[in-house]
Amino acid sequence: MSVPSSSVAALRERFGDAILLHAVLSGDTIVYVRADRAHEILAWLRDEPGQGFNYLTDVTAVEYRDAERPIEVVWQLRSLERKADLRVKAELDKAAPLEVDTVCDLWKGANWLEREVFDMFGVQFRGHPDLRRILMWETYSEGYPLRKDFPLRGHLSRAEQTRQALAANPEAHYSLEELSIAEAFHELPDDVRERLRHGERGKVR
């Protein structure tokens, strides 16, 4: 159970000190890599014939209760042919901007998964084609819900949340992008365009 996957030795040989450490927990092999080289390493794991991790099971992030510990971005990889799993992690220091390269160019399935990590943790994925919030609405500005400094009931009181929800204008339901794809945006009256440009619901803080 505690034997690491053979990929660890191959990774260390190929990438040297970009592989920080590895562990085996509950039978799963975990490899910590340097965040700035994560994309390169994941691409190698996907394309190298002996590895063949062609399936991206999941992308997520973990923040620990210990505020000193960095945020981890987690990629769960799988090789469908070899029936092998590998968990790759990169640590992001909270003092620096939370940024890591996107893997959307390698796996299209990463698109929504990375949007969710951005939405819930505020991790920026460099090069992502469409990094918008996905589960929360686009004008949501209370922060990133799965961060440990985010209280369970949110930053605003229930009364304030209700007030803002009632004050929101359902006319502003279409985003600028959606209006522009219909090429209807230019046909709107000037004042409506101006209002939409600034976001009808605006920022709450």
Binding site: S26, N54, D58, T60, V62, R87, W107, G109, W112, E178
Partner: protein, 428 residues
């Protein structure tokens, strides 16, 4: 495209725009007149309150004539913050939350969470518990596929099979109710075992179901599989190749319909699935129709597994359903009242909850909709640091634009239905 098992060759009479008689072959796309409308595009907002979006899904479609040029899904209307809530709950208290994610297969979700926590703690459950969990998973697969098939039929215009299928679904719900006390929010499992053993005579009810259910499936097969409308609306619609399916991280019937033979039950067996005899149907074309065939066959195979599991239950009569481990399972009340050590265990478990060691575990199981994964990170306290749900229909839905773009607006309804989404799980 290779020759189909069920070839359809049908053309219906109709009138064209000028009122002349034409033969309209079903399912044949007219290409080449994309610019008939002079490049004028139309924006259609489908949902979030639309009966054919299977919940609160909103699709923004850019149409050129009737052809979908872009599809932008919007999700999150049902976001409940389950993952956040899980960080404030004991492991056994998370199980009721899993009922409410994929609410069409609650028992399978319960099983996955218990297995993830058991993997974290290194616990092996007794055989009777494994067999009962297999029964729970396969019953979930059947009811989930029944809902899928019934509602997809309605989307495409067939109402009668929906009634037949929901009648069968009620029979499973009756079984779930007599086992757990609840029809939908079952909360069946506990870390290290089950909430309850099956009541006396319950096997007879399931055995009766296994005998009679395939007959209904055959009737639906007769109604759908060679039905000209069903074929026309589904064959060649929403096609995704095997390579694209892998690249989009699809799983479950969506992946297998595209010809990728991957089933967690076969390839990373859990709960002793390697000891059951069943076949995994794999499609060829990756379209709506193959997804239908795969799911239909999966229901037959689930019935096969249920029958084998019932046979094992007879052999394991009276065997324990909970692991003998005081860290996770409460001692019997008689011992807790008379034995000091048992009382301490009882007290600690009730007051503090189950405490896994520091570590993390990912447990993926083959849920009806695809691979459901629970990723638990523990810091040694009784509440997880992170409870990540790897939601199969979230990833399956993310490939919807890929499948829709270039199709007709009416196909979007059929394609969306074939993905088998459940918004409780997508939005969590």
């Amino acid at each position: 495209m290779t020759t189909r098992t069920v070839e359809y060759d049908l053309a219906t009479g109709g009138l064209d725009a000028r009122g002349r008689d034409v033969r309209v072959p079903l399912g044949v796309r007219q290409r080449g007149d994309e610019d008939a409308l002079g490049g004028e595009h139309m924006l259609i907002n489908l949902g979030p309150q639309h009966p054919a979006t299977h919940g609160v899904l909103r699709l923004v479609l850019e149409l050129e004539g009737e052809t979908v040029r872009r599809c932008i899904p919007h999700v999150g209307y049902l976001h409940s913050g389950f993952e956040k809530l899980g960080e404030y709950r004991h492991y056994n208290q998370i199980i009721p939350l899993t009922d409410r994610t994929d609410y069409l297969s609650p028992m399978a979700n319960n099983v996955c969470l218990a297995m993830a926590a058991e993997k974290l703690m290194g616990i092996d459950v007794p055989e009777r518990c494994e067999v009962l969990r297999v029964i729970a998973c396969e019953m979930s697969r059947i009811i989930s596929h029944l809902v899928w098939l019934g509602t997809t039929g309605i989307d495409i215009g067939a109402y009668t099979p929906f009634l037949w299928l929901f009648q069968q679904r009620e029979r499973i719900y009756d079984l779930q109710e007599s086992w757990t006390g609840a029809r939908m929010t079952t909360s069946l499992t506990r870390v290290g075992g089950l909430m309850a053993d099956i009541p006396d005579g319950w096997e007879d009810g399931l055995g009766d179901f296994c005998r009679t259910f395939p007959k209904v499936l055959h009737e639906v097969d007769t109604m759908f599989t060679r039905n000209a409308i069903w074929c026309g609306r589904n064959q060649g619609v929403g096609t995704i190749s095997g390579a694209d399916a892998i690249n989009h991280s699809l799983s479950g019937p969506m992946l297998r319909a595209s010809g990728v033979d991957y089933d967690v039950r076969k390839d990373r067996p859990y709960l002793g699935y390697e000891t059951y005899e069943f076949d995994v149907p794999v499609g060829e074309h990756g379209d709506n129709y193959d997804r239908y065939l795969v799911r239909l066959e999966e229901m037959f195979q689930s019935t096969r597994i249920l029958e084998q599991a019932l046979g094992r239950l007879g052999r394991l009569k009276g065997a324990p359903i909970n692991v003998d481990d005081p860290r996770v399972i409460l001692p019997p009340k008689s011992r807790a009242m008379s034995d000091m050590e048992s009382m301490i265990h009882h007290f600690k478990q009730v007051m503090e909850g189950v405490r896994p060691p520091v570590g993390e575990a990912y447990m993926g199981i083959e849920n009806p909709k695809g691979e459901l994964g629970y990723y638990l990170v523990s810091d040694g306290t009784a509440k997880p640091v992170r409870w990540r749900i790897r939601p199969p229909s979230f990833l399956n839905l993310s490939a919807l634009p890929h499948m829709c773009e270039g199709a007709l607006l009416s196909d979007v309804i059929a394609i969306n239905a074939s993905v088998d989404i459940v918004m409780g799980e997508i939005d969590r």
